[in-house]
Structure formats: structure tokens, C-alpha cells
């Protein structure tokens, strides 16, 4: 049985610097052996700090940069280069993307209508059909078509532009929408409007979301399942509520306890982690998290922990969770008390 969207062994190394033969001298291991799956109608959240490879993963899925390795299937149909795979253009009809920078992702010389109608026209719709589609979608994302359809991107506010980007992503009736930090640049009051809109659209068009964000609270709020990435690798995956209440990987636990307090009496007294995330050009050996991990043992620097099944649909890449891994003791999963809401 395969899931609706299945991604296996996705990998991307970016070469940096070349020697006199034109061979790369160093590589950034941006995404390494990333696999995940999600069912139709669900939201999969991807969290992690900057440089963890979450945005690169999204770009690899859309083939905006071609993956070195990996297999992407939707409903069992594989896409990409290779025998038995449909071309990427076919994948893009089923999967669309909304980016963080609402201004840079719209063509400044096209009106809102032209931007939204572009996709349908390329895919064979007549001018009239495409125009009707653009008006319908603008209305659906909460912008008055008569007022907005002839405007240019610079005439819109950030929140309005992001609504246009969402409308454009939906214009060719995709089944999957990748939201790459789509609400991160918006002010809180506008962010709430867009999150509500995304929830409505998902129900109405039976969409599947890949929701990429660094904001853990927002990811928990929108996601059914979550994967946590660190330096190009998945360190933990599983149902959102279980992961947030009992994080299995020390990094997930640290991310959650690094969230600012909601009441002055709950102020943090110490930071869960020291230092910055390391440079992905020369990531640490073994478990990439081991230099910052409070539980690290010598073996963590030597052996790469596999992404092990810990039951309940959860997977974690940590020696400490795997009996027989050689880690001195298998520790119980730490329970984080739910923070009191303000």
C-alpha cells in the first residue's frame, strides 16, 4: 500500500568552489535521504531552523532545483526523469507552491488577472475561461474581483499579494499545495486571516498541504503530521499532537522548550541548547545533532542513527530511542507539560 504522496530518498548536494579541473571542492549536503508520506486531505508540517533543508526539500519536489536522487509518487504514479516516470510538467499540474516573498513571486509587469490566468492558459484554457477562473478565485480568496483584477502587484499590501499567490496556485486545480513559509512574512493580524483562508480552501477543494515553517506554534495548529529536520536530515516524524506532547528526539524537545513564554510567570530560566546550528558544509559526523545534544555519548559521534519506528506512526533518528543500538541506556520519552494558554 502506498500513500497518496510518497517521497523516498530525496537527496541534494550543492557544489561550492571548483578546482582547476572544474570539479567541486566542497559540497553543501542540503538534503540527505529525506523520505516522507502523507494521505490525501491531510496537512504535513515541516519544521526546522534556517539551513535545515526544509525549503530545499520543497524546491526539489517541484523540480525547481533537480534532485540528485529520490523518487516522488502521487497515487502510485512516479514523476521525474527515468523509465516509467511521467514528466515534471505533469507533476506541476497536481502540485503547486506558494512562496514566502509575496512580491518576488509575482511578475511585477503582469496584472493580477494575467498572473492568475497564466497557468490555466498554458494548460489549454481559452482566454475567457481563464479570466472567469481568475475572477472566481479572487473572490474565493477574499479579494473583490472588480476592484483587484486590473491592479499590479505593487498596488497591493503584503496580505493581499499572498492571497493572490494562493489564488494563482489554485488556478490549475492542483491536489497538493506546498506552502513554503507562506504566512511568515505577514503581520500577526493578517497572518490569522490567511491561516483561516487556507483552512477554508483546504476543505472546499479537498487539498493536501505541505506546510513548511519555522514557527512551531503555527505548524502544530495546522498540521496532522509533522516532520522535524536538522541539517538536511529528518530527525523525527509523526502525528503532530503526539510529537508536541512527547517529543522523542532531543532536538524536537529543545525546539519546543525554546518557545517564548505566554505569561511572565513562565519565563524561561535557561536556554535548552547552547550555540548555533553548525555549518552544513561540514556537518558533524555520526548524528549531526550530537555536538549540541545534552545526552550525547561517544557512539553518537561515530554512528549515524537510523530513522527508527517507535510505534504510533512515529519515527525518530536517535540512538537513545533504539534498543540494541549500543547507546548505554534506552531513555524514556520526556513528557513536556502542556503550556498553560494565556
Amino acid at each position: 500500500m502506498t500513500a497518496f504522496l510518497q517521497v523516498e530518498g530525496l537527496q541534494k548536494y550543492f557544489p561550492i568552489g571548483k578546482n582547476f579541473l572544474g570539479r567541486p571542492t566542497q559540497v553543501v549536503k542540503a538534503v540527505e535521504d529525506v523520505s516522507f508520506a502523507t494521505e490525501r486531505g491531510k496537512t504535513l508540517g515541516i519544521v526546522g531552523e534556517s539551513g535545515c533543508g526544509k525549503s530545499t526539500t520543497a524546491r526539489l519536489l517541484m523540480d525547481l532545483s533537480p534532485p540528485d536522487q529520490g523518487r516522488i509518487t502521487i497515487d502510485g504514479q512516479a514523476y521525474g526523469k527515468g523509465a516509467g516516470r511521467k514528466p515534471i510538467t505533469a507533476l506541476r499540474k497536481r502540485m503547486q507552491m506558494v512562496f514566502q516573498d509575496s512580491y518576488a513571486s509575482l511578475n511585477a509587469r503582469l496584472t493580477i488577472e494575467e498572473s492568475i490566468a497564466f497557468g490555466p492558459k498554458i494548460n489549454g484554457a481559452s482566454d475567457r475561461e481563464a479570466s472567469t477562473k481568475a475572477r472566481d478565485l479572487l473572490d474565493r480568496v477574499g479579494l473583490d474581483p472588480d476592484n483587484f483584477i486590473r491592479r499590479y502587484p505593487h498596488e497591493l499590501s503584503g496580505g493581499q499579494r499572498q492571497r493572490v499567490n494562493i489564488a494563482r496556485a489554485l488556478a490549475i486545480d492542483p491536489e497538493i499545495v506546498i506552502l513554503d513559509e507562506a504566512v511568515s512574512a505577514l503581520d500577526k493580524s493578517v497572518q490569522a486571516q490567511v491561516l483561516n483562508l487556507l483552512a477554508d480552501l483546504k476543505a472546499e477543494f479537498d487539498l493536501t498541504y505541505l506546510f513548511i515553517s519555522h514557527d512551531l506554534n503555527v505548524v502544530q495548529y495546522v498540521s496532522d503530521d509533522v516532520i522535524v529536520m536538522y541539517l538536511g536530515q529528518v530527525v523525527e516524524s509523526g502525528p503532530a499532537q503526539a510529537m508536541y506532547s512527547t517529543p522523542a528526539h532531543p532536538y524536537t524537545a529543545a525546539l519546543l522548550s525554546a518557545l517564548p513564554a505566554l505569561h511572565p510567570k513562565d519565563r524561561k530560566t535557561r536556554a535548552p541548547l547552547e550555540g548555533d546550528p553548525p555549518n552544513p558544509i561540514s556537518p558533524p559526523s555520526g548524528c549531526r545533532f550530537h555536538p549540541r545534544c545534552p545526552f550525547a555519548e561517544p557512539m553518537c559521534a561515530e554512528t549515524v542513527p537510523p530513522l527508527a519506528d517507535i510505534g504510533g506512526g512515529r519515527h525518530v533518528a536517535c540512538h537513545m530511542r533504539v534498543p540494541g543500538s549500543g547507546y548505554p541506556e534506552v531513555r524514556p520519552i520526556v513528557t513536556v507539560a502542556p503550556s498553560p494558554t494565556a
Binding site: 519546543l256 519565563r267 494565556a342
Partner: protein
């Protein structure tokens, strides 16, 4: 005088090619010694403009500042250029959001810190470097002696931010202004820097003004909070009171729009319809009225004086009625 910072009726207007921008209107602020005030607001609300006025960092020929600003007993708006340079970095210092832009990329970090000390205390280069080392240790930069000779690009984001804090605190200022100092940082690094600022504030007995758009960050560091909207302070008070019992409809909306941990995915967020105002005209009425669920005709009249109690202030004409409306209870129409 108890207050280290006193701002009265501050108005800041920028002259642009498209006309005047009324960025800040009638702002009053008091900051007691050793306390932290958070200026909370969305982009364009005037929080950074207010803060930069305290050091007069705006381009003089394009900016009109009225009102009065007193920092450590000195009338900032009356100072000449020379006195202003004496003030900046000595009595009052600033930490910015993007340390890469605040440091000069072609000088070593240690030398840049030493330069400030030499300028203000008239000491030798060696004494300046010694102070720089001491400051690098204060902000917990690993292997500080080695890092003195590092260039800004050789440091990671979190370390650069620590170095900028070291730079700002090198002359032991009485007031530290922090303009979104953790916004560009990763979550696990953000909390380290917030804790560091709190620790240093205690150690040096500084007062701090902290600009942020993040409610959680404000709660972590502040004693007092001032919420800004459309260039005005709409609500002000002790952080625990404002956050648990917001009076102004905008504060209520802002808290309702924030996603909290463990929120039920089925609950809809309280969204504030519309967008923040353009400040191309002087807004004398309530700037929030067009988006406010409680607005009536009287809200479009010029604003009355703010409602003031011992500890708290809010600027809303309908205050007695709306103050009890908690964020979750007031689900606004879409």
C-alpha cells in the same frame, strides 16, 4: 527625577516625494531605572521610528521631530552634533535586528568594540582591546580572545548578535535600545539571546527599551509593555496585566490572532479584517476604528485624552464597554 527616559508628546514626520508621512503621533513614554519596556506593534506602527528618535538617528533634513525627549536628564532634541555623538554609545546604545549591517565588514570585531571605548573614554588602543575582550566574555562568546580578531562574516548569526550586544554595552550605557534583536535568529538561538539580555541588564543595572512584533518575546523580557498602532501608543501597562486582560480592541485582536501552543486545530483564529492604515495624513481619530468590531460613529471623531489609571493607559473612546471583551470571546466577522 526617577525616570531615565521621558518622552512627551513626540511626533515624527518624514518628508517624502509623495508627501508627509506621519509616522509617530503624540507618544508619551516613561522608563524607570533598571526596567524594561517593550514596544509591541506590527510593521509600520511606528515602534522603530520612536526608538530611533531617542538617539536622533533619523536623517535631519527629511525629518521633523516635535515634543520632548529626555534621556538620563539630557534634552536630546536640544543637543548639538558634538554632544549627540557623546551621548550615542555612551549613555544610550542600540542593538539592531541585522548585525551584519551594523558592523563594518572590513574591520575586526575586537577593533570595532575598542574604537567605541577609545572614543568615549579617551583610553589607549590596548585598554580598548582589553575592554573588548572583557565584553566578549560577558556575552559568552566562545574562545573570546580568538574572536577579537575575527571579521563579522566569520561569525555565525547568533555569535554576531552577541558581538553587537558587546559593542553596544562596551561603555556601560544607562539605556539600551534593542530593535527586534532576535527576529532574524533561529528559535534555539533566540532564547539564548533573550536570556543573555536579561542577565546583562541585571548585571549592569541598565534600562532597556525593546522593540518587537512578537508577543512571546515581549513577555519574556519586559516589565512594561506599550502597544503601538498607526503611530500612536494605544495601550500601555505592566506586561502581565496587558497580556492577560487587554483593554484596547487592537490588543485584544492581536492576542486573538496569535497562534498558541496546543491550540485546537478546529478553533478559528480571531482575525482582524483589513490592513493597517497608511500614514500619509495626520490621523486625529482612532486609527483602528475602520478595523474595529466595536466601532461606532463616535470612534470617527477626534480622539479624546487616553483613559489613565495608576498603572495602565488605553486610548479608546468606548473603553468601559470594550475592556471586558476578551480576545476569544470577540470573534470578529470575516
Amino acid at each position: 527625577m526617577d525616570n531615565i527616559v521621558e518622552v512627551r508628546d513626540l511626533c515624527v514626520t518624514f518628508k517624502t516625494s509623495e508627501g508627509s508621512v506621519y509616522a509617530v503621533s503624540n507618544v508619551n513614554l516613561d522608563l524607570a531605572e533598571g526596567k524594561t519596556l517593550a514596544l509591541l506593534g506590527e510593521s509600520g506602527s511606528g515602534k522603530s521610528v520612536t526608538m530611533k528618535s531617542l538617539m536622533r538617528l533619523h536623517p535631519p533634513h527629511k525629518t521633523q521631530i516635535t515634543g520632548s525627549i529626555h534621556v538620563a536628564g539630557r534634552d536630546v532634541l536640544a543637543l548639538g552634533n558634538r554632544e549627540l555623538s557623546d551621548l550615542r554609545g555612551k549613555d544610550i546604545a542600540m542593538v539592531f535586528q541585522e548585525p551584519m549591517l551594523a558592523f563594518d565588514p572590513v574591520f575586526k570585531v575586537g577593533d570595532q568594540i575598542a574604537e567605541v571605548v577609545m572614543r568615549h573614554e579617551g583610553c589607549s588602543y590596548e585598554a580598548g582591546r582589553d575592554r573588548a575582550l572583557e565584553m566578549m566574555e560577558c556575552v559568552h562568546i566562545p574562545s573570546p580572545r580568538k574572536r577579537l580578531d575575527a571579521y563579522p562574516h566569520e561569525m555565525s548569526g547568533g555569535m554576531r548578535q552577541r558581538a553587537m550586544i558587546a559593542l553596544a554595552l562596551a561603555c556601560r550605557p544607562t539605556v539600551l535600545l534593542a530593535d527586534e534583536p532576535t527576529t532574524a535568529l533561529d528559535a534555539t538561538v533566540q532564547i539564548q539571546v533573550l536570556l543573555l539580555l536579561r542577565e546583562l541588564q541585571r548585571e549592569f543595572g541598565m534600562s532597556m527599551i525593546f522593540v518587537t512584533h512578537d508577543v512571546g518575546v515581549a513577555i519574556e523580557v519586559a516589565d512594561e509593555i506599550a502597544v503601538m498602532y498607526g503611530g500612536r501608543i494605544v495601550e500601555q501597562g505592566p506586561v502581565d496585566q496587558v497580556m492577560t486582560d487587554p483593554w484596547h480592541p487592537y490588543t485584544q485582536g492581536l492576542l486573538g490572532a496569535t497562534v498558541y501552543p496546543n491550540m485546537d486545530p478546529a478553533t478559528r483564529l480571531v482575525s482582524i479584517p483589513g490592513a493597517p492604515p497608511q500614514l500619509y495624513r495626520q490621523i486625529t481619530e482612532c486609527a483602528f476604528a475602520p478595523r474595529c468590531p466595536h466601532a461606532t460613529d463616535e470612534c470617527h471623531q477626534p480622539l479624546p485624552p487616553p483613559t489613565q489609571t495608576d498603572q495602565r493607559m488605553a486610548r479608546c473612546i468606548r473603553l468601559p464597554e470594550v475592556a471586558g471583551a476578551l480576545p476569544r470571546a470577540s470573534v470578529l466577522p470575516q
